[in-house]
């Protein structure tokens, strides 16, 4: 353990090698205590390195990071709130090193998050996603049905969260089919003929599907049910991500989503896999296991923090989700506190056998009425 803490990782180049090792995997084999030590030793170097190349983050780390060398656990690393990527362009590389900008799918009128990606980060993101998914769905390539429109992928330089996920999962495809058309008003329309012929063609073998949770539900599952469609693809695997908020509003539970989606496809419910991730940390995804828990891959982690004290919650308790990742080198995305709440279900003892922290997403953090009559207006932003 002392080895992890002090000797091996003192230089960014050594650290880069160790991150690559972790990305190669295995993803869920390290006990949490060991993982803590490994990741903290990497983060000490990585955060300081990024701080040296990104002035604003340097100031942030100076204010809130304390003595970086004294970081002992993941919760000592000061997390940057995710909304900061909407307000600042936080780059740790010169413009000529930027190979891609990732943009959050913004709602109208809102400033999207902008994440700059250099070659190293892009490479790691792709490798990492593949390495994680391999452990859930196996390594082989298969026919890929994207429950979205081709337009959602975007071009190479400016990629949205949706596009990045569609591409990332695409690494497991031998042939890609898009199930939807984008209408002029921005809505999506399923191409049922295309969908039926895709399933007819690949009835017997394994197929891979991916879509955003809300789109899968509102445009695919419920419409297929209405049309009385059942596809009978027993070897289908559906990955989905993002957008539970709208489903919670429709009172659709994760269980109901899984059951009805599996019924439409004709596969086992355990082949409907939700993963948690965000555009600010592409490549770092927390995939559901067979027991319905989300696991952190080897090169990343999750910290569930109590409101107010910001201490890590105990097992069984809920708090604010922070995601930690060693992938980014081009921006300060190593420790990000999200606008989501989750529950720390356990450590090292999930029935599925995977080690490390495992958690469940519970809800977005919503404003409460408690703010009262003093809660007025965003004058500062409206005026400027």
């Amino acid at each position: 353990m002392a080895d992890h803490n002090n000797v091996r990782s003192t230089h960014p180049t050594d650290v880069a090698e160790r991150v690559d090792e972790l990305i190669r995997g295995p993803q869920y084999a390290m006990p949490q205590a060991e993982k803590d030590a490994v990741l903290v030793s990497i983060l000490r170097v990585l955060c300081r390195d990024v701080a040296g190349r990104c002035e604003p983050y340097g100031r942030f780390l100076e204010r809130f990071g304390g003595d970086v060398d004294a970081w002992q656990s993941m919760s000592d690393v000061p997390p940057l709130p995710v909304p900061m990527f909407k307000r600042f362009l936080l780059s740790a590389v010169p413009p000529e090193k930027v190979v891609r900008q990732l943009l959050s799918s913004s709602t109208t009128g809102r400033q999207p998050s902008r994440i700059v990606i250099d070659k190293t980060t892009a490479f790691r993101q792709a490798r990492a996603l593949t390495s994680i998914l391999k452990e859930h769905i196996g390594p082989r390539r298969r026919p890929y049905l994207v429950l979205d429109a081709p337009e959602s992928v975007g071009d190479g330089e400016n990629l949205t969260a949706r596009g990045a996920a569609i591409r990332g999962v695409g690494n497991f495809a031998d042939k890609t089919t898009f199930a939807m058309r984008s209408l002029p008003d921005g809505n999506l329309e399923p191409n049922w003929e295309g969908i039926e012929s895709f399933f007819a063609e690949h009835q017997s073998g394994p197929v891979l599907l991916f879509g955003f949770t809300f789109i899968v539900w509102s445009r695919f599952v419920t419409e297929a049910e209405r049309r009385g469609l059942r596809f009978g693809v027993s070897e289908a695997v559906l990955l989905h991500s993002g957008g539970w908020k709208k489903l919670t509003a429709d009172a659709v539970s994760k269980e109901e989503f899984g059951r009805r989606t599996a019924a439409v496809l004709g596969c086992d419910e355990r082949c409907i896999l939700d993963f948690y991730g965000m555009v600010e940390q592409v490549g770092t995804v927390f995939v559901d296991c067979e027991a319905g828990n989300k696991h952190a891959p080897a090169f990343a982690d999750v910290v569930i923090r109590r409101p107010l004290t910001l201490e890590q919650v105990d097992i069984g308790q809920a708090g604010i989700i922070e995601v930690v990742s060693t992938l980014p080198t081009s921006y300060p995305g190593q420790a990000l506190i999200t606008e989501d709440q989750g529950m720390l279900v356990g450590v090292d003892d999930c029935p599925c056998g995977r080690l490390g922290n495992y958690f469940r997403f519970t809800s977005r953090i919503e404003q409460t009425e408690i703010r009262g009559c003093g809660d007025t207006f965003a004058q500062s932003r409206e005026l400027r």
Binding site: F64, P81, M84, P307, L310, I370, G372, C373, F377, S380
Partner: protein, 423 residues
């Protein structure tokens, strides 16, 4: 769970319609109208004393101030200010030469409370009762927040000719889900006067409800409050820490959720203290406060975001508690009203002169805590600020002290109908 009624014994389910409660309040109107105002004042004075002695209420947040506010002298002065100098108008016709004038109750006053201040319902309930109205109060939360205990102590009060439990017959306190439009409508349509406290969305929803044509609608909030520390004060004062400590009191109370709590404090540039030194003074005072008992995830995120935003920006700076999201001092030179984060988060903004603040003021700014120096300067500031629709300019330390007028309104005066007799 549909309607909960909050009583001295706690809360109990109360069916799915407000009709019986409204009916029994209406039956009580004539009885209420006949209670002499002096008896009401005596009973409330007794209530004031008991609140501080009774262990059910003496540790409620804001109870000291409420007790002082309920004292007979204070309420007497309040009535004089509200009622043309003479509370006797409440008891019947008072002659003015050949003519007569009286202040009659509006009737049923419906109140929608905000959840931010536990004792808040009392500040509209008492004026409504003094004006001899019957009151239907809707709390923001099913948790009573101490209201049941306040009612229980009131029920135990007794003075010559009036008991607390008798007065309670004129009050119904309820909770139901905010989204129950039909109940909100029922309440609104029963009202002769509506009092609404709350944030923007609550106020928009409640004022949009149908109401009777004669119904008076009185809205409190959403408001924003600020502070100003002047050059004169800083350059002459031997003890600027006292000013800072007083502002920190205003910040601490009700966890900065009241509309009268300062969110941004402007500091005039001066020869003695840099903005950073003032920031350090605030930090020292904030660090002395007892730890906050709890905080919701949303406000925690707002605090973390403000801290990060002020640290990432080169032209800004921030000092924060190292024990979680306890307190935060954000400093900059951006002359705007910062979005309220609340819960011990104060934005200090340096200005050359307080004149720069005046264009930011408007009807949404309620209270300005002023530490400006000479009386003449305070008067000059108050003239400019109130011309821009600010309601109160008060010294730091008393920003959250509820007083009449509030938000520019003399509440008791609006809860009566002025009637005339010219025989």
């Amino acid at each position: 769970m549909s309607i909960l009624q909050i009583t001295p014994e706690g809360s109990r389910p109360s069916g799915d319609t407000l009709a019986p409660l409204i009916e029994s309040l209406n039956r009580r109107r004539s009885h209420m109208a006949e209670i002499p105002v002096d008896r009401l004042l005596a009973l409330l004075d007794e209530f004031s004393g008991r609140l501080l002695r009774d262990e059910r209420t003496r540790s409620l947040e804001g109870i000291m101030f409420l007790a002082a506010w309920l004292r007979r002298n204070n309420l007497q002065r309040l009535l004089e200010l509200n009622l043309n100098g003479n509370p006797a108008y409440l008891d019947g016709f008072v002659s003015a030469g050949r003519d007569y004038l009286a202040a009659k109750p509006q009737g049923l006053v419906a109140m929608w409370m905000a959840g931010n201040v536990p004792t808040l319902p009392m500040y509209s309930l008492v004026p409504a009762l003094l004006a001899k109205n019957v009151c239907l109060v809707k709390l923001a939360y099913p948790e009573t927040g101490g209201m049941d205990r306040l009612l229980a102590v009131l029920a135990d009060c007794r003075v010559e000719g009036l008991s607390g439990s008798e007065l309670l017959e004129a009050i119904a306190v309820v909770w139901f889900d905010y989204h129950r439009t039909e109940l909100n409508e029922q309440m609104s349509l029963a009202a002769d006067a509506k009092i609404v406290w709350g944030g923007r969305s609550a106020i928009e929803a409640i004022t949009a409800l149908p109401r009777r044509e004669h119904c008076t609608e009185i809205v409190f909030g959403p408001k924003y409050s600020i502070g100003v520390i002047g050059r004169e004060r800083l350059e002459q004062d031997a003890d600027p820490d006292g000013v800072v400590a007083a502002f920190v009191q205003d910040i601490a109370i009700f966890d900065q959720r009241a509309c009268s709590a300062p969110q941004t404090i402007f500091v005039e540039r001066n020869e003695r203290y840099s903005l950073n030194e003032i920031g350090e003074m605030f930090a020292r005072e904030l660090a002395k406060l007892p730890a906050k008992p709890a905080l919701d995830a949303y406000t925690t995120m707002q605090i973390l975001s403000a801290r990060a935003e002020w640290a990432l920006d080169e032209s800004r700076d921030v000092i924060a508690s190292d024990d979680g999201a306890n307190w935060t001092v954000c400093m900059d030179r951006d002359v705007v009203l910062k979005e309220a984060v609340q819960s011990r988060t104060i934005f200090l903004t340096e200005v050359e002169s307080w004149w720069e603040i005046i264009p930011l003021l408007g009807p949404k700014v309620q209270t300005v805590g002023i530490a400006l120096g000479r009386l003449e300067t305070s008067q000059k500031f108050a003239e400019a600020a109130t011309a821009a629709c600010v309601a109160r300019c008060v010294r730091p330390g008393i920003m959250n002290n509820y007083e009449s007028p509030w938000d520019g309104k003399l509440l008791v005066g609006q809860l009566v109908r002025w009637v005339t007799l010219k025989p």
